[in-house]
């Protein structure tokens, strides 16, 4: 039997966000704003949505408020099927993957995906109580916070590839420039290398301006089958071409939050988790790094953006700083990275962030990104990674 290529794409009909910030309200409020914006953008009546997929986190009062159903009730119960996905930083991508499965299996044509978060001030800290069986408790007891890990990766780059703190500062300057005119960004201010160097040291070599904040925010997508998009005259809508949510492969070689040790690679080869995420997505989409017009990556720190560029194979291992210095990753360059302004300008709103990355790609591929528009953008890729072996990459194409 001859294999016939079946489209595994779904269409993105609408996108919407609630601006990132510290607004002090419930995550439900933000989610509803983003959902209504996405529905309006798609020209879809909420009552026609057949599947609601919520991205969740487990902090901050979520118990008893399961994301998908909570958003559906706030928008008004209308009998849609519902789902909630929790996968740390990849929650949004897994919620989107659930919608894609429903659509591709023919169970529904039209779905709404929502992620929203409200965050505490300062470091993300573990739940209370003595819990030595919880790796998160152990590492915080030792004083090992999230920036510790980002700093270890950054210092490793300096030792291995000769990256400098000035390179890291250039990532911040670039992303601040990109986010300056993004209405959904929390920090909209240009910075100089002197500003970054004058900010307090958090975890050597990273300063406050190298490390992303935590934010409130929400993002939502209205997605449909390609057939549905055609029927409503939206055959040209950007499409989700791949969603990768693979686990790490043992032995995972990098020290990862919240662990205090890596896997031992005595009996199995060492693997890079970050590199595995986009590799699966490229394979699924039948695309390669050379096809990519722009990338939205998880810059939890400035230095981590450089790691991601290599994991996405936008350049060879160790050459990200050189690519950055060449200007290629600025809007107007060959391969813009974090045209939205990235986490540097947004801060992290965990269950919303992976969806926010897809919103940005959608606006870019439609040519609606205003001052930060990447000319002729055709293929965009996202990457993110968080706790407990979760991470994702989404590819969007026109």
């Amino acid at each position: 039997m001859e294999a016939r290529a079946v489209s595994r794409d779904i269409a993105i009909l609408g996108v919407g966000m609630h601006p990132w910030g510290k607004w002090g309200r419930s995550f439900v409020d933000y989610g509803v704003v983003a959902a209504r914006a996405a529905l309006g953008d798609a020209g879809v009546d909420w009552r026609r949505v057949q599947f609601v997929s919520g991205a969740a986190t487990i902090r901050n009062g979520y118990p008893g408020q399961v994301a998908g159903a909570t958003f559906a009730q706030a928008l008004g119960w209308q009998g849609a099927q519902v789902n909630t996905s929790y996968a740390a930083c990849a929650s949004g991508s897994q919620a989107l993957a659930a919608a894609r499965s429903k659509i591709l299996s023919g169970e529904c044509e039209l779905a709404l995906v929502i992620g929203a978060d409200t965050t505490p001030k300062g470091f993300l800290a573990p739940a209370k109580g003595d819990r030595p069986d919880d790796p998160d408790w152990v590492r915080f007891r030792l004083g090992i916070t999230n920036p510790t890990y980002f700093a270890l990766y950054a210092r490793r780059r300096m030792a291995l590839y000769g990256d400098t703190v000035d390179d890291f500062a250039q990532v911040k300057i670039k992303n601040a420039e990109h986010g300056f005119e993004n209405p959904n960004a929390r920090y909209r201010k240009r910075f100089t290398a002197a500003d970054v160097a004058a900010s307090p040291m958090v975890a050597s070599p990273l300063r406050l301006m190298d490390v992303c904040a935590t934010s409130d925010g929400a993002a939502a997508l209205v997605v449909s089958s390609v057939e549905y998009a055609r029927r409503v005259g939206r055959a040209d809508a950007p499409r989700v071409a791949a969603i990768s949510t693979v686990t790490p492969t043992f032995a995972s070689a990098t020290i990862e939050m919240p662990d205090i040790a890596t896997d031992s690679a005595v009996a199995a080869e060492a693997h890079s988790f970050r590199a595995a995420l986009p590799a699966k997505a490229y394979e699924e989409a039948g695309l390669g790094p050379a096809d990519v017009s722009l990338a939205e990556v998880y810059d939890l720190s400035t230095a981590l953006e450089l790691d991601w560029m290599e994991d996405l194979q936008l350049c060879r291992r160790g050459e990200a700083a050189a690519l950055l210095r060449s200007g290629a990753t600025r809007v107007g360059g060959r391969i813009p990275v974090n045209a939205s302004g990235g986490l540097a300008c947004f801060g992290e709103a965990v269950p919303a962030q992976a969806l926010a990355q897809v919103c940005e790609l959608t606006w870019q591929l439609r040519g609606q990104a205003g001052a930060r528009q990447v000319a002729g953008a055709k293929v965009g890729i996202t990457a993110n990674q968080g706790l407990f072996g979760h991470g994702s990459t989404v590819i969007v194409r026109r």
Partner: protein, 144 residues
Amino acid sequence: MTETISRPFLEGWFAESEGGAHLIGARCTSCGTYYFPRQSRYCRNPACDGEQFEDVRLSRQGRLWSYTDACYQPPEPYVAAEPYVPFAIAAVELEREKMIVLGQVVRGVDVGALQVGMTMELVVEPLSETATERQLAWKWKPAP
């Protein structure tokens, strides 16, 4: 006057003997994979279904994979001295075990004294101290 009691902040994670301080790990008796913290139920190597483990002393020395410090006071359950004293943190690669283990760096050694690739050695030192109790932890120290 009350005596200050010293005890490990976690029981059974490290020990001191004549040869010096060491972490207590586990090793799968089927495939040889090392674990820290100890593992006693199932081997995480997908090619191995081992469920038998033996306790092992992990290598006392390794190469510094990377390092940083904690310039701001970490949140609880970290127990901070008053005033807060920043400390360095090391990620040390153990050659025999082919794994990286994190830990604080001993007091008095800041990031200026560290360099990726240098040899580090495990010691036991107070992690936190109150008037009545001193909690001990493993720490990394540049090897002499």
